[in-house]
């Protein structure tokens, strides 16, 4: 067995310096991972059973039934993907193509717009390793990494010594946070918290744009213009700046135009990059894979030879408008994460869940197929929040099939 270090799949930071101790083929001790990562790597207490209509069956039966449901559906949806390896995502896209299905992932109501802008070269980006070695001005915007990506600041963005940042965070780096509240991350940023009202991100971007253009920065919420000018000055002097964009920012922007303008302006005087704070460990991987195959990162309908794409193909609109009549969910729990009224609708159609653990969706599914937990029970590759490919290693043995294998077997049955 591989001695490690291993990769944690608790979030899209994909920390690759994890050590473990095993007992009876279980992970019993985890070194260097954060609290959440440890919980992921030690495994859940409610593993998913293999069932059809609530009755325990063997894998072959469940796989055949899943294939039957998908084949008979007129508008099947293949959804999830953020917790699967690139290899499994590739297979899921293949399956959707073969079925003439709708395919979407969690980026549809998450970081999708930013990943898309980056893949279309509309926003300059960089890697986390570059951030560690070079970044001197770091902005957390609508993000609270202490809770979402706990090792973000210690591993890459603020505290580590880097090649060009040898003297430590107090002297070498400035961390700024823009948020609607003083989060736990904001506590660390001290007086560099810019507290704005809910949804005021475009207004603040606009004010910052004015300040960077030496105009008086006015905001509808009357933030002291002096403070905004101070911030603009820090940003102008940055050698290597990076904006970590969280969902707080993404959800506040009806259009990305204010962000594009701000990034352009920042890059007139200094170098600024943006990295989306992707949540699930391989959500960005799915977006890359689908983009390569179809030119779209999500929300795709394989209609015969045609590809349809757009908001009407989003998981939310598809369910809301009663389009889909069956769904296969891989490594996701939409009944927990979608708006209540949408979740209730989804629960009424035949569902197939593929996941290592039981969740709300699996308990309402016609077919449940347990899968190996990636990075622990199986290997594979994934794409980190900054677009870098990371190789996952297997730590323990399992009889469970991988997502990839399950999807491949379903395809064979179809």
């Amino acid at each position: 067995m591989d001695k490690g270090p291993f990769v944690c799949t608790g979030c899209a930071l994909l920390c690759d310096d994890i050590a473990v101790e095993l007992q009876d083929n279980r992970v019993t001790r985890v070194d260097t991972a954060c609290r959440k990562g440890v919980s992921r790597m030690k495994g859940c207490v409610s593993p998913m059973p293999c069932t059809v209509d609530g009755k325990t069956v063997d894998e072959n039966v469940a796989i055949r039934e899943a294939a039957r449901i998908l084949k008979e559906a007129r508008h099947p949806l293949v959804f999830g993907h953020g917790n699967s390896t690139l290899e499994a995502q590739q297979k899921a896209i293949e399956l959707a193509r073969k079925l003439g299905a709708h395919i979407d992932d969690t980026s549809s109501f998450c970081q999708g717009p930013l990943v898309e802008a980056i893949l279309n070269n509309k926003i300059p980006t960089c890697t986390l390793d570059e951030v560690r070695h070079m970044a001197d001005v770091i902005i957390f915007w609508g993000a609270d990494p202490s809770h979402s990506h706990p090792r973000h600041l210690s591993m890459y963005s603020y505290f580590p010594r880097g090649k060009q940042r040898q003297r430590g965070w107090e002297e070498d780096r400035t961390a700024i946070i823009i948020d609607v509240r003083k989060s736990d991350t904001a506590v660390i940023c001290g007086d560099k918290l810019y507290e704005i009202p809910v949804g005021a991100d475009p207004d603040f971007m606009n004010a910052l744009l004015n300040a960077l253009s030496n105009k008086v920065p006015k905001t509808p919420f009357n933030m002291d213009p002096k403070r905004i000018l101070e911030l603009a000055n820090i940003l102008k002097k940055a050698e290597f700046g990076v904006v970590f964009a969280g969902l707080g920012m993404v959800y506040s922007l009806d259009s990305l135009d204010p962000l594009f303008s701000l990034m352009d302006k920042l890059n007139e005087t200094s170098k600024f990059h943006l990295i989306p704070m992707v949540g699930q460990y391989n959500m960005r991987g799915f977006d890359h894979t689908l983009f390569r195959e179809t030119g779209h990162i999500n929300r795709v309908y394989f209609r015969g030879e045609e590809i349809e794409h757009g908001p009407q193909q989003s998981v939310i609109e598809l369910i809301s408008n009663d389009i889909i009549d069956a769904a296969m969910i891989i490594g996701s729990d939409p009944l927990a994460s979608l708006p209540g009224p949408i979740a209730k609708k989804l629960a009424k159609i035949p569902l197939i869940t593929i996941d290592p653990c039981e969740n709300l969706t699996s308990r309402r599914s016609k077919v449940t197929i347990p899968s190996a937990l990636s990075g622990v029970e199986c290997d594979g590759t994934a794409i980190r929040m900054d677009g870098v490919e990371v190789v996952l290693k297997q730590i323990i043995e399992t009889n469970k099939l991988t997502d990839e294998k399950i999807i491949a077997r379903i395809m064979e049955e179809i």
Partner: protein, 134 residues
């Protein structure tokens, strides 16, 4: 109690902002059905002055509803230094999601972090359970 008990409880308008929490996330990794996950996800944190105005104490049940749904939550006081009247905070999860509208104006992106709802005191009701939600 007298006359008061026959009156409906007054309703107060709030904007609910959702956010992540590592302790809830850790509980979820262990089990979506764990008690800790349910406890942390079903709390609504209110401004201290708002709590006085409404007449709720930390630990009281409150009814929070809008056109999308209705949930009974546990009210707790804000842990933020700055006052935030009219804004309440919740950890994201099925309880908060019950209040998120299906209508996205055609964008496909629901307003997860900017939920309008009304809140009122609850006399006897228990906090909504996970089973009641889905």
């Amino acid at each position: 109690m007298g006359f008061g008990q026959f009156l409906t409880e007054p309703e107060f308008k709030f904007i609910i902002v959702t956010h992540r929490d590592i302790f809830q996330n850790t509980a979820q990794e262990s089990s979506r059905f764990s008690e800790q996950y349910a406890e942390l996800s079903s709390v609504i944190r209110l401004d201290k002055d708002d709590m006085k105005k409404i007449g709720v104490k930390a630990g009281d049940s409150v009814i929070v509803k809008n056109a999308s749904g209705r949930v009974v939550l546990k009210a707790e006081s804000s842990i933020l230094e700055q006052p935030h009247p009219g804004t309440a905070f919740m950890i994201n999860g099925p309880w908060a999601n019950a209040l998120v509208a299906a209508d996205t104006g055609g964008t496909g992106v629901p307003a997860f972090k900017n939920i309008e709802a009304v809140l009122s005191r609850s006399k006897e009701e228990k906090v909504t359970s996970l089973d009641e939600l889905v």
